[in-house]
Assembly symmetry: C2
Homo-oligomer: 326 residues x 2
């Protein structure tokens, strides 16, 4: 059975929602979980949700990296953090994947130093799967590298292409480069130089794509630097939140709920599902390190944790993150 380590102290709603999400995941999936965190808190939390104790264990780690911690100093000072301990479990092969909703910078840096980079990869990247009308889009980097060189973006494109082939069976995936316009001349210096590299590569490079076209699914993989990617994902969240609140308004109106015709319901449900994904419920993957690291959103509640665990299980089964650089 697949064993996955889960950072019980990661995220804004840890440990409560993390432990709750773990219990949910155990009910729906065949897997074993290792909850990593303080020995005085976790047994108490765990009791509340009555999970199948034969498939969940606690691994003690008593330091906690907060969302505000500086990654470098957190790594130096908090050697017994749940992030460090979980990553060690992964590195020693005691688990097949590590899931955390914690401090992204600390997760990326700990993964780099503990697991190491895959061959041929200068920098690992955080990728997020976004919903599109007929398939999904892998968007990377969404935050691992604020400053990128053109060669990093080329490598992100290779890693992303291999990933979507394995995870979604997409042959010859279409790769787009995020820019401010479709023409090769558009974009900043980094983008114009990366455009040339991608054009000369053997990837199925379809050229520059604009951020408004990502949700339309015009590419299977879209690459950008980690600063721009992070800002784009968060701006989508901001807009998504406005409309989530609009949807909630509607949902509280009984006459509205009763009146929505049966014919409309599937379309509404599909659109609202996409809204949910764009409102910060996405799960990110760390591509390019030697191990399966899955990053849940910092604001994840139990449902988000459960989804991240499901993604981790799938990644292990498909070996989707292995040797992306060769």
């Amino acid at each position: 059975m697949i064993r996955i380590a889960l950072d019980a102290m990661g995220g804004d709603h840890a440990p409560r929602e993390v432990v709750k999400g773990a219990a949910k995941a155990l009910r729906e999936h065949e897997l074993e979980l290792v909850l990593v965190g303080p020995g005085d808190i976790l047994p108490r939390e765990l009791k509340k949700y009555k999970p199948d104790r034969s498939r969940i264990s606690i691994y003690e780690a008593n330091d906690v990296v907060t969302m505000e911690d500086n990654p470098t100093s957190a790594m130096r000072r908090k050697k017994d953090s749940s992030i460090a301990a979980g990553m060690n479990l992964l590195n020693s092969g005691q688990v097949s994947a590590f899931v955390s909703a914690g401090n992204t910078g600390a997760i990326v840096m700990t993964a780099l130093l503990t697991l190491g980079k895959q061959e041929g990869i200068e920098r690992p990247a955080l990728g997020i799967v976004l919903p599109a009308p007929s398939a999904s889009v892998l968007f990377l980097d969404v935050g691992a590298n604020a400053d990128c060189r053109p060669s990093f973006l080329l490598q992100f494109a290779y890693m992303g292409s291999i990933y979507v082939q394995r995870a979604y069976g997409i042959d010859n995936p279409r790769v787009g480069l995020l820019s401010s316009g479709e023409e090769a001349s558009k974009g900043n210096k980094l983008v114009r130089e990366a455009h040339q590299l991608l054009k000369e590569s053997d990837l199925n490079f379809i050229g520059n794509v604009e951020s408004r076209d990502i949700p339309k699914g015009i590419a299977d993989v879209v690459v950008t630097d980690g600063f721009t990617g992070n800002v784009v994902v968060k701006s989508a969240e901001g807009i998504g939140e406005i409309f989530l609140s609009l949807s909630k308004l509607r949902a509280t109106d009984h006459r509205y709920r009763r009146s929505v015709s049966l014919l409309m319901r599937p379309a509404l449900k599909a659109a609202e599902g996409r809204l949910l994904d764009y409102s910060g419920h996405g799960v990110a993957l760390l591509l390019g390190v030697k191990g399966n690291v899955i990053v849940a959103h910092g604001r994840s509640e139990a449902g988000g944790i459960k989804r991240a665990i499901a993604v981790a299980k799938q990644v292990v089964e498909q070996e989707a993150l292995v040797a992306l650089g060769c």
Copy 2:
């Protein structure tokens, strides 16, 4: 009476929607319009909408800059374009503002060369006003400068602060710097250096802001480089479009329309108004050149053109774009 020049050939739906928008604007506002474009097309278009001919005239310019044209070569080859002619009318004082929904790069470059920069400003910036719950947010640069130096961002912050003081009467406006996290250490190299400059300035700098917080109105002015700003605005458009289509779905459902309670309607309307703004109906201002240049969205229909003309009139009345650099 205020006279405004309008690029009749700018945008995806020119000249039809531009001329229609001009006629609408004349009915609602006291102003005079000068339609700039080909002499063989405009009189015919104009007839369709029966505007008050005493307040609208045609200024002939027979070259057309397309949305795909390279700005530099368009300026060299198309000397009699509606953009060049409109900018000359503005420069010679025959009109007080120029409105175009055309090729943004060409508009910015023509403005720079024809009107010149304001004192103390290294680069002009495109600013867009975004809706927030209790006020508006000026977001800049959204596309004039793909590659920025830290000093440019500082100047954008000064220009933006003066603008929102004049346009909205906001004293001591809060300035935010777009980044991937609130801490000063977050962001790419450009952002970290700009953060220092802003901190040392006499502006009301509130620190880094995340893109998801812009719609919440946590700052009155948010600055970023033109590449990131452009990508953020377009990603908001992409998400906005999904929800616009969702709203249209609902609007075609008669039972839904009949059933929405009277109490809910104002809230829905307000939220959908913000949705509309985030779906690419914003109007952009060019800050830092010697003249009032207003850029409507390239996909503007008549309503968007009318709104851009209204913004132009307001900018002229308030002298909101004058001497932003001193």
